[in-house]
Symmetry: C4
Amino acid sequence: MVHINPSNTKDKEIQNLGLSNKDITRGERLLNRNGSFNSRRVGLPLFETFNFYHYLVRISWTKFIFIVAVGYVVLNLFFAVIYYLMGVDTSLTGTITETQFDKFLEAFFFSAQSFTTVGYGRISPVGFWGSMIAAFESLIGLLALALATGLLYGRFSRPAAKVLFSEKALIAPFNDMTAFQFRIANKNRSEIIDAEVRVMMSMLEIKNGTPYRKFYDLLLEYDKINFFSLVWTVNHPIDKQSPLYSLTEEDLHKGQAEFIILLQGFDDTFSQNIHSRSSYRYDEIIWGSKFANIFGFDEDRRTTVSLDRISDVEN
Amino acid sequence: MVHINPSNTKDKEIQNLGLSNKDITRGERLLNRNGSFNSRRVGLPLFETFNFYHYLVRISWTKFIFIVAVGYVVLNLFFAVIYYLMGVDTSLTGTITETQFDKFLEAFFFSAQSFTTVGYGRISPVGFWGSMIAAFESLIGLLALALATGLLYGRFSRPAAKVLFSEKALIAPFNDMTAFQFRIANKNRSEIIDAEVRVMMSMLEIKNGTPYRKFYDLLLEYDKINFFSLVWTVNHPIDKQSPLYSLTEEDLHKGQAEFIILLQGFDDTFSQNIHSRSSYRYDEIIWGSKFANIFGFDEDRRTTVSLDRISDVEN
Amino acid sequence: MVHINPSNTKDKEIQNLGLSNKDITRGERLLNRNGSFNSRRVGLPLFETFNFYHYLVRISWTKFIFIVAVGYVVLNLFFAVIYYLMGVDTSLTGTITETQFDKFLEAFFFSAQSFTTVGYGRISPVGFWGSMIAAFESLIGLLALALATGLLYGRFSRPAAKVLFSEKALIAPFNDMTAFQFRIANKNRSEIIDAEVRVMMSMLEIKNGTPYRKFYDLLLEYDKINFFSLVWTVNHPIDKQSPLYSLTEEDLHKGQAEFIILLQGFDDTFSQNIHSRSSYRYDEIIWGSKFANIFGFDEDRRTTVSLDRISDVEN
Amino acid sequence: MVHINPSNTKDKEIQNLGLSNKDITRGERLLNRNGSFNSRRVGLPLFETFNFYHYLVRISWTKFIFIVAVGYVVLNLFFAVIYYLMGVDTSLTGTITETQFDKFLEAFFFSAQSFTTVGYGRISPVGFWGSMIAAFESLIGLLALALATGLLYGRFSRPAAKVLFSEKALIAPFNDMTAFQFRIANKNRSEIIDAEVRVMMSMLEIKNGTPYRKFYDLLLEYDKINFFSLVWTVNHPIDKQSPLYSLTEEDLHKGQAEFIILLQGFDDTFSQNIHSRSSYRYDEIIWGSKFANIFGFDEDRRTTVSLDRISDVEN
């Protein structure tokens, strides 16, 4: 379990995103709403920083299926060309062909039948080279399809922390004071165990005449809960110790304030650690409103939660 | 390793189940005996909160086998219809058919032979479209079966913390005082390493005239053991600091007391963290009895434990 | 990472093995040399405590291969009987048979060809029932073989903490005092990161006239090292705080002393936590000797360690 | 998550590499630049210390592919010999042969078709022994290929902490003092969460007239960051408490100083702990220079980092 360790000293956080603070002042937001980083690495050849597995696990299902299908066709075309060049009549037996194109097609379909090891056998290899190429095509097919099926299953069984963040954060009255609040929900039916949240605020400040970005940890009412089963309203009470104390909406705008949210926990179903990130910018904060109640009871007196209303606020 | 961190302040626990305490007073028990939550999420379309992997891992073996078999038949019917519509005589060769129904059957069985890549070859595809559909059916079959076999193996190798909870908890004399006790056993032959237990009590209380549910952590004699190999009697001594101090059976009934049990550890065989939960309600507590001894020795002087007698009590 | 947390209070350890201390006095050693527990669970039906996965992962390779081979033959015999009873001539085509036994053999080999999806096609199914059984046999074969291959790979890739314990522990001079020592070696070529050792001593003592087993934690000179790469001599200095202080060889014998060793760490190659256990009994301790030096240098001035001499002592 | 726990006492670290400090003085560097240990185990038979899985996961892709291909050919040659010795004409049907060599080739290709379960069926087994060997060859093929494909996918999906270390470490002015510095970059596009660095210095010292190697932990400005996304300059400020305080370049040379770097964290994409190690020797340190700035902004005002310039220094 990875513990978020909130440090007490505020300045210490400056390196927490692995970014130098030089020049960072001019940049756009650090984290996108979906939790991805707003940065780019340059100077190394693509293959050095690119991880194929990483790519294939992260792309959409449509892209993934497309890549598998195209890869399948391309590899079979490759082997079809080999059988065709060796001579379809000498390397394969049982083909039914009239034209040269028929021959290529039979070579292609024989290739597909070897690659998937379905091997109907109407067309089958003869002679040394035809049989040898077919023997290795089956091996290559098995290996290539193991990658495809492994990735397919890996994607399917990958823990997706479907954490829903409220669209806006609030700065609103809370008990006898004011608090910075946002609401998160666990969309999945599995429990997130030992969920921990950490909130960092980043603001432009002036030091020796030059603006630089400063990072603060915001102390939370609760930064850890045993089960994140349904909904969690995360609260940072704005007391005298809070870096937000006495700041106005305009101050946050001027400082281009950004609130970075880190969530982690252990997924009960997938037996794996999960992480989720998001960020609220100064223009994604509502002042003075409260979150609406979304708890209720059904006819069996079980607790219900309306996840579609997670961003609902009231005055 | 996920550590349960018992907090010192009692009130802090109110959010520990990710539930607001508003209106919670009217609800039924929070946790079912089998550890599942007694709540429901509403307001989002089904596919948003539903995780297919989660579902297929959790359902019974009977349901799982049924879904695999039905899926297999349905996919083959789908491809059989395609071959049938393309014309069995033009897209397939080697079929033995007299009636239209025979044709459909041969198409269905050819489909099954392609899907599983057994490809006997008595029936085999001819022509561009027949061969092409068959080539993709084999690919789809390999991918679909990879999901089925992956899930099968995942279910088979999934660490099931077969933790046995005693049917009732006890409030009974213990040393010179009284204790809240329950007994758990490790049914599996693998050791659970660094087992940790946490017990929370939840009771209705009156605050400003309105009832609300309060949560307390119960301090345990031991909350962690290095090996949970056989049986563990978990003890909460009811001393002056205990929220149970001086409460009677009737008080627990009135307060609709519920004791929530969280167990976690590391399974030696499966090399994975495991979690188990349960709950005892006020009406699942026996007052004044003690657990019966279930340890013994066999003829080889090895320690034995009678797991069937884990709930046995004596006066 | 599972942390072994040594508790300060000695008595607290009494439950650390999940064993009651009642009657434990009469028992044999608690832990066998190979780290398995010397206990047995009774009273539940076998299938309740038996985990098939656990069993198949732990048995020897010979047994595993045997079970896979026998299972393969039995399943094929089962399907062969079905094809035979349906009539080999009506459900299968292409069989070459003279006798009834030939028919059964052809049914058996056809079954094997369907089960593995090799499907040569010399023999192939005809008719509704023959084709249908064959279609499901291929599916069942794929599922069953997925279990076999999954287990095979799981066994192959399972982190085996090949930790070598010295045959005997020593109680020997160490610096200006005496120490309880044993030596462990990492046989694998992968590093064990953050290795932690915990040593518990268990001894019979008399309390109110009845003997009972008491457990002590032994404080170690180092209980954690960053890399357990080669050899580690674990030291418990016997100072005034040590429960071993002033005890003689005879005392340990009378108290049937047993030293329980727990080792854990993170395997760099397998990316998994590993655990190893062992135990030294009073009669497995050498008094007064020191471990021999087993470090040396090869011709390239690289450090070498002679693992075969790990138990070597000198006076 | 494995926590590096920096101990306060300097001498305590002597065992941290699982090495005795006797004679260690004469040795070469402890850790190679790539993080592997400069040591060797002797005295045990090879198969005791050799782990085949470990080997096959760590070798280069070229070697791995070579081993799979050679294993495939060798196993098929083995079965080909069996079919050939049984008599190709009696155990197989459908072979097209003129010479004895043709017979062996047909046996070889039939073997490959059984091993991969492609089973075209032009050649198929007949008779008891031919069919039986073929039935088991398919089973063995499925099991062997499961190892190959499992390893292939395991290698493909293995988290490779592509951490780039700057070629040299610096001892350079930092704020108002001097610091020991090096720079690391995360080449992968996945984030490393909760990255921790630990730096140990090892130097020869004289004690009672004999030189021995002493280990020091170096306190870092930051030893943990929440995200290691891009670049991290690790700083050990050389204050009065630092073991480097007042040491000169010559002192480090004389003491054959070596700086051992341990990095660990949690990979977001692979959901696994990752570890990386490296080491700087006294002759891999530049005195007096500073690292050049490698941060910039692209046309979309996103932060960019030039990873190719990670070792760049300026005066």
